[in-house]
């Protein structure tokens, strides 16, 4: 994807004299003073068309005076250009952008949680992932990787045993003091309005939440007056881990984020790192990657379909979807050796060459799958009950797509053709033909149709990949082993001294990346999964930020569910399709 061009940058520079424009190898950065940040962002959003909020995060530089640098990534859907805005926090403070982009609220809460930056004007600056009362900010550079052992999450049992700290998990006992609630003050007022109201607690373990998200619904009858989302049950500190290991070592960790689409995660990460290291990927590897990413997409959409239908009471679709999913799992297992967290990709290629007979199995799958899709359509698409449950529920407008930073099928369901595969082709996506389905209304039903059509398009891509891979000779390289930062495949390592030495060096010393920064993203089944890598040279990233599509997609949930019912909540959540491994990281 191109970055902000010089003409626009000059216009911005003309408007804002003190803005410094920096064109790096992979990005365009605007440096602005903290006081002028809101003005610049407003200008970019309203005058220059950078209205899609992609991400916000911070970098900690303990040695500089201001210490924290805020990073904002914006996207212009008209010209298909991105820009990074950077600003230094003043005395640990940044202005809040929640008036401009609603989803900035969650991103800022996360930055507050991880770095301790105070956002002025933020309505509800609470911890995002860590529990309230936790005294540290884990992504600061002076926070040790292993954590601080004396401080652990207080548990309910300990409270009963007489421990004094209020545990954040016990809503009944300390519910006025649980400050991780989104918009707590407003919620509390609403709770006091009417005595008949009921607070329904969903989760952290609840069959409807597809993982460990914690929802609170204020109910008036069945109607949801207000809802809160509490995240962080699955927070593992991926970004902190990434800062402390080599680039290639982090690859298996990406599997554990959106564990339903592991290969897509790997592909996004590998693309970002390859950009930073300047690694060319051989043709065969690109096609294998594309093929497996699309298989994984079908796999993930099937899981969404099955569980989504299960949520709405259609029990049989679940097993029908899993039957097909099993075949894809087998294909992945046959090639990568693992079913779920496959770790199939490598920096510079793929781990193994295609296994014997893979293409035949995939061809059989391509032949069979359209019939299965027809089965799902027969069961659901024109089913009156299904229509009643999904039509006009949770309508997302186009403005909200940009305001909440929505991506993936959720954005496309509202008619925004935002698909990284087309806008910034990676792997072999620029060499295959496929269409981007978009919805019209933006309700749950449109998102359902978009995902169903995406499976058909994925199938098309796979078909083309198979045709291409059949033509390629068996001896074609599947990993770019000539590059000094790419590990050679095992068969060379055991036979060849140079390869062995190279592997040895990489495993011990890492890849030794050049200094610079990269923002690269992939189109995941759950939206844009972006990796912002800030490297100061060396083998470990100085800062690796993961832009999670699921997190941003989830951020619109409290707004959409207002005045809906509990039954709508389940349909809506299914259509947003968050995976907690990715929202919490």
């Amino acid at each position: 994807m191109p970055w902000m061009n010089r003409a626009t940058a000059d216009r911005v520079k003309f408007e804002f004299k003190d803005v410094e424009v920096e064109f790096t190898k992979h990005t365009t950065n605007l440096h602005v003073k903290q006081e002028r940040l809101i003005d610049l962002m407003k200008h970019l959003k309203e005058k220059e068309g950078y209205r899609h909020f992609i991400d916000h995060t911070c970098i900690d530089f303990p040695d500089t005076k201001e210490r924290f640098q805020g990073i904002y990534i914006l996207y212009n859907p008209d010209t298909n250009e991105r820009v990074i805005v950077k600003t230094w926090a003043k005395e640990g403070k940044l202005p809040s952008l929640e008036k401009l982009w609603a989803c900035a609220r969650w991103a800022e809460r996360e930055a507050y949680d991880m770095f301790g930056i105070v956002y002025e004007g933020h309505e509800n600056l609470r911890r995002m992932f860590m529990w309230e009362g936790y005294p540290y900010h884990p992504l600061r550079k002076d926070f040790p990787l292993e954590g601080i052992p004396e401080v652990e999450l207080p548990s309910l049992t300990e409270l009963y045993a007489g421990r004094t700290d209020p545990p954040s998990h016990d809503f009944e006992l300390v519910h006025t003091r649980v400050p991780t609630l989104e918009d707590l003050e407003r919620t509390e007022k609403a709770r006091l309005q009417k005595k008949a109201q009921l607070v329904l607690n969903w989760g952290p373990l609840h069959p409807g939440t597809h993982g460990t998200i914690w929802f609170l619904f204020d109910l008036d009858g069945e109607k949801v007056v207000q809802s809160d989302v509490i995240l962080g049950q699955l927070h593992r500190g991926m970004e902190k881990i990434a800062e402390n290991i080599y680039y290639f070592q982090f690859l298996p960790y990406t599997d554990r984020m959106d564990y339903i689409s592991a290969i897509c995660n790997e592909l996004s990460y590998a693309t970002a790192v390859e950009k930073l290291l300047g690694v060319e990927v051989p043709e065969k590897a690109r096609y294998i990657r594309t093929m497996f990413a699309e298989l994984q997409r079908i796999n993930s959409h099937l899981l969404w379909l099955g569980t989504g239908a299960l949520d709405l009471g259609a029990l049989t679709v679940f097993l029908y979807a899993f039957r097909e999913r099993e075949k894809i799992m087998d294909i992945i297992e046959g090639n990568a050796g693992f079913r779920l967290t496959s770790a199939f990709l490598r920096i510079g290629g793929v781990h193994y060459d295609l296994a014997e007979g893979t293409l035949d199995v995939i061809k059989a799958f391509i032949k069979d799958f359209p019939n299965r899709l027809k089965e799902y359509h027969n069961l659901l698409t024109r089913n009156r009950i299904w229509l009643r449950r999904t039509k006009d529920i949770g309508v997302i407008t186009r403005e909200d797509v940009f305001n909440y930073g929505l991506t993936g099928p959720v954005a496309r369901g509202s008619g925004v053709p935002y698909d990284i595969r087309k806008l910034e082709p990676y792997a072999a996506y620029d060499e295959v033909e496929f269409d981007i389905p978009v919805g019209e209304v933006g309700d749950v039903y449109d998102r359902y149709l978009v995902r169903m059509e995406e499976m058909v398009q994925s199938l098309r891509i796979i078909e083309q990949c198979v045709a291409k891979l059949e033509k390629l000779p068996k001896s074609a390289p599947y990993v770019n082993k000539e590059h000094p930062a790419v590990m050679s495949p095992k068969e060379y390592v055991f036979m060849d001294l140079e390869d062995m030495v190279k592997n040895f060096r990489i495993v011990v010393h890492g890849e030794n990346a050049p200094p610079g920064e990269v923002y690269s993203s992939g189109e995941n089944p759950r939206g844009e999964l972006g990796f912002y890598i800030y490297s100061t040279g060396g083998s470990k990233p100085y800062r690796l930020r993961i832009r999670s599509g699921a997190l941003y997609n989830l951020s619109i949930f409290p707004k959409l569910i207002q005045n809906g019912t509990i039954a709508d909540a389940i349909a809506l959540l299914g259509s947003l399709d968050p995976v907690v491994g990715e929202t919490d990281r």
Binding site: P207, G313, L315, N383
Partner: protein, 336 residues
């Protein structure tokens, strides 16, 4: 005196037979449903316990009986226990007014294969049907859980709207038969040589809807809604106390209401005598289980409605339809 005693003994035997047969069938219906669901969903269903998994219901029963039964701390204990009784009793009582076959003579005693042939049988059906909701409401209230509470309220809303439709849909049949006795209704159909479904197709469809709603089957299973309310009203029950709820609601109620539909619309035990002396009973069971099968089939195919949709359909579409149906039936029956 001896007459009374003999009558009492005969009734007792009938009760034991009906209870034994239908509780047994109810248990085996779980096996049947699981097997059916398995085949609908392209899997095998239970197959490890006994041949074809036939001992699975027994294993389930033993498991449920030996499980620890946890009662919530703040539960309203008397109501909590009462709910179990209130769930299963009305479902069983429904069987008391179902005629399974024609009168026959055994040892010079004339025996009707119905527990109590009262002339207000259909009224009793409504009464028991309405009572069934207490099991749900009590369980929701007594377990002191928000999920259970919401589930039971949903069920109450459904029952209230569908009881009315049920009453009106059956009214057409009563007008045609001119009696409220279940045996009388079957006799009326046999005498005319036509099943009432021919005269009352709309009423039959309405009745089927009400049957699904009353027995809490898909697409009306909002009181369970495992994705939203975990399992709704019975979430705080464990062991056999939990097992009783689906047994009563999903199996006994479905069977009883199917049997009544058979009586009302499908000519009860009438059918060609091709199975010898047992043929009326076989015909009755065939019709009844045809309907049960239909319910199970829907259960494993359709998604579920929302609470507000169900009540909306009930009040806005089905109630006017059933009233129009009754009025037209009354006029036509009067003219002919």
């Amino acid at each position: 005196m001896t007459e009374l005693l003999i009558n009492l003994i005969i009734t007792l035997i009938k009760i034991l037979v009906v209870l034994g047969v239908f509780l047994g069938i109810g248990a085996y219906l779980t096996w049947f449903e699981r097997k059916l669901a398995g085949h609908i969903q392209a899997r095998m269903g239970p197959k490890l316990v006994g041949p074809f998994g036939l001992l699975q219901p027994l294993a389930d029963g033993i498991k449920l009986l030996t499980k620890e039964s946890v009662i919530p701390q703040n539960a309203d204990k008397p109501v909590y226990y009462l709910a179990v009784v209130m769930a299963v009793a009305p479902a069983l009582l429904l069987f008391s007014v179902i005629p399974f076959g024609p009168e026959f003579t055994l040892f010079s005693y004339r025996i009707k294969p119905i527990i109590s042939d009262v002339n207000i049988a259909i009224l009793l059906v409504f009464a028991f049907g309405s009572l069934a909701v207490y099991g749900t409401i009590f369980s929701g209230w007594a377990s002191n859980s928000k999920y259970a509470f919401l589930g039971s309220l949903r069920k109450a809303a459904v029952i209230i709207s569908y009881e009315v439709v049920l009453g009106f849909s059956v009214l057409g049949v009563l007008l045609l038969a001119g009696t409220m006795s279940t045996t009388g209704i079957v006799q009326a159909q046999i005498e005319r040589g036509v099943w009432f479904i021919v005269y009352q197709p709309v009423a039959f469809v309405l009745y089927l809807f009400c049957m699904l709603a009353e027995s809490g089957r898909v697409p009306f299973d909002i009181q369970e809604a495992e994705a939203e309310l975990v399992t709704g009203y019975n979430v705080e029950y464990g062991g056999m106390r939990f097992g009783v709820f689906p047994l009563a609601e999903w199996y006994l109620n479905t069977m009883a209401l199917s049997a009544i539909a058979t009586v009302l619309f499908l000519g009860g035990w009438s059918g060609p005598h091709i199975f010898g002396p047992l043929s009326p009973y076989i015909w009755f069971l065939v019709k009844m289980f045809g309907l049960v099968f239909f319910v199970l089939w829907l259960h494993w195919t359709l998604p579920r409605f929302q609470a507000r949709d169900i009540t909306e359909i009930g009040w806005k579409i089905m109630l006017p339809l059933s009233i129009v149906n009754v009025v037209i039936t009354a006029i036509v029956a009067h003219i002919l």
